[in-house]
Amino acid sequence: MDMVVILSTLDATIRLSTPLLLACLAGMYSERAGVFDIGLEGKMLMAAFAAAATASVTGSVWAGLAAGLGISLMTALLQGAAAITLKGNQLIAGTAINMLAVGLTTFLGIQWFAQGGRTPQLKEGERFTEVKLPFADELANVPVVGPIYSDLISGHNILVYIAFLAVPVTWFVLFRTRFGLRLRAVGENPKAVDTAGISVIAMRYQAVLITGLLCGFAGAFFSIAQGSGFGNNMTAGKGFIALAALIFAKWKPVPAMFTCLLFGFLDALQIRLQGVEVGGVQVPVQAIQALPYVLTVILLAGFIGKAVGPKAGGVAYSKER
């Protein structure tokens, strides 16, 4: 592989890992606070649809993003109401959100746009395009650093930068602020937090809302940045891959970033390995397309050691009377 191919693969890695990373960090807030979130997929799908539909109707990408974030937040609140206030089973609440999202987005898509559940193709100004970082052109000819900066780091859309900025921000919020300490405590030992006079319910709602916000960015990335319009079920299980990445990274922000980059890399690689001969034998497309999933199973089953989640995760909190 020459430099161009390597750069192109890494470039695609960043693009493909962005939605995973946003969803993974989203799940981290919720799960750290003791609310297992299997509904990442559903929230992303709702956001993707709302973003594309709004961008297409208003002609503004920012209105689209705002709608995506808003819908995702509302979906998160709905899930929160079921799992926190009503003390429903968290896994069932998440699954319900996923099922609702698939059905509702397709239904509304057909009703509103009559294009088989798709939203219209987005035009220029209705989707996020590549951002050129300063000095990208000037540095392009500098050996080694030049192409890495101008091809790899520059030239992504704004949501990509938001995703990677969210990593240090999440680390800081979770591990260096009072809010983060309380949030983690709620996930480990809610009774102790309650005894200290802090509302467990309020903490969990805040966490779930942050989850909704980040899922909104992830969903918008699918439909108004990476793609140009919404398609049925376009998140294609990425929410579950993000969940796998979260466990693999043991609920920590920086490992989460590297895990998502690994999954993104495998995806980018499988696209480039199609039809390539290895040792004189043409590898079947199917085998290569299954690679990311097979590796997910192997990594989760064998290589990460024991991944212990937040102790109070999965249990609705109720004060003893």
Binding site: V4, R15, A114, R118, G231, G275
Partner: protein, 336 residues
């Protein structure tokens, strides 16, 4: 309309049907679209346009349905057949099994299937010479390419899409024997017809590997390829419908498959037993069943030089001087 008058209307229709001897010919035609949806800007949309053209021309009505999943095929066919729709037209290569079963159950109804072959006395099968049309756009791609590398993004990895690729590759090689071809498929399940994100990533990878033209034979997924080409300032080639207008200046041409003509002809002729022609009907370059799209949106891209060469290829294929190999004949593509 309340329930009673609705029933009364149905009753009247029933009386009318039995009163006229050739009752079936009066029934409305029906069309069933394949997965990917009516407005995929490609194959299904071409079928829809054909139905609409028929409606405009004759003022008649037709009924249609979009499938949501594979399991609905027989169900949709039976429902239309028992409603007395005639003819029933279906678009897509996955209809073989379902139609074989249902056609035998309704011998009085005429069926037309596009892109598949079903051998029943009341079925007309329309297939296209996609390989010759693909040959022409392959030649255009090679003539336009400055890098000497051209790409292909297929939808689902099935023989009929290999047929597109095989023709495309032969056309490109006919222009430039040492041209480099990159062949990719979006996936292996029907979801691959509706996955523009993956298809777009495949196209981006092809452009990064040096390709400057990519042919998308991928139904709704092809939109991702067209978008990726427009974003990267490269060329793409659309499929089935004329997709030149989607990104003028970037969509080089479209491999036309006149599904619209097939549908409107079927609506016109297949409802009446006198004009219905069961059996296999192959539409090729000579019948204008396949071809390449030339309009205002790509007039500046297709120079007179390119056009002259492609027309020459077309004439030679029609006369039989150039034989384009059909992948589906032996499931192989020799020399590629």
């Amino acid at each position: 309309m309340n329930a009673i008058s609705k029933h009364f209307g149905a009753l009247l229709a029933g009386v009318a049907m039995t009163a006229v001897v050739t009752g079936a010919a009066l029934a409305d035609p029906a069309i069933i679209y394949d997965l990917g949806g009516k407005f995929d800007k490609s194959f299904n949309e071409a079928a829809y346009n054909g139905a609409e053209a028929w409606k405009k021309e004759t003022g008649g009505n037709y009924i249609d349905v979009e499938l949501q999943n594979d399991a609905q095929r027989e169900q949709a066919l039976r429902r239309f057949a028992s409603q007395g729709a005639n003819p029933i037209v279906m678009a897509g290569f996955s209809w073989g099994t379902a139609l074989n079963t249902v056609a035998a159950e309704f011998p009085d109804i005429n069926f037309v299937v596009i892109d598949a072959v079903v051998e029943q006395p009341n079925v007309q099968s329309i297939v296209f010479d996609e390989h010759t049309g693909s040959f022409l756009v392959g030649a255009i791609a090679a003539l336009k390419s400055t890098t000497g590398t051209v790409g292909f993004v297929g939808g689902m990895d099935v023989p009929i899409i290999h047929k597109f690729y095989c023709g495309y590759a032969q056309g490109a090689k006919a222009v430039k024997a040492d041209i480099k071809l990159i062949e990719n498929y979006t996936g292996t399940t029907p979801a691959a017809w509706n996955d523009p994100v993956t298809a777009g990533e495949l196209a981006k990878a092809q452009f990064d590997a040096g390709a400057d033209v990519s042919f998308a034979a991928a139904g709704g997924s092809g939109l991702g390829v067209l978008q990726a080409a427009a974003d990267a300032g490269k060329f793409s080639i659309g499929v089935d419908s004329n997709q030149n207008y989607l990104h003028p200046g970037s969509v080089l041409t479209s491999m036309l498959k006149r599904v619209d003509v097939a549908v409107s002809t079927a609506f016109k002729e297949a409802g009446d037993d006198a004009t219905f022609k069961p059996g296999v009907n192959v539409l090729g370059l000579a019948q204008d069943g396949v071809g390449y799209a030339l309009d205002d949106n790509n007039a500046a891209l297709i120079t007179d030089d390119i056009k002259a060469k492609v027309e020459e290829f077309k004439a030679k294929i029609i006369s039989g001087e150039i034989k384009v190999h059909d992948y589906t004949a032996d499931n192989s593509c020799p020399g590629i």
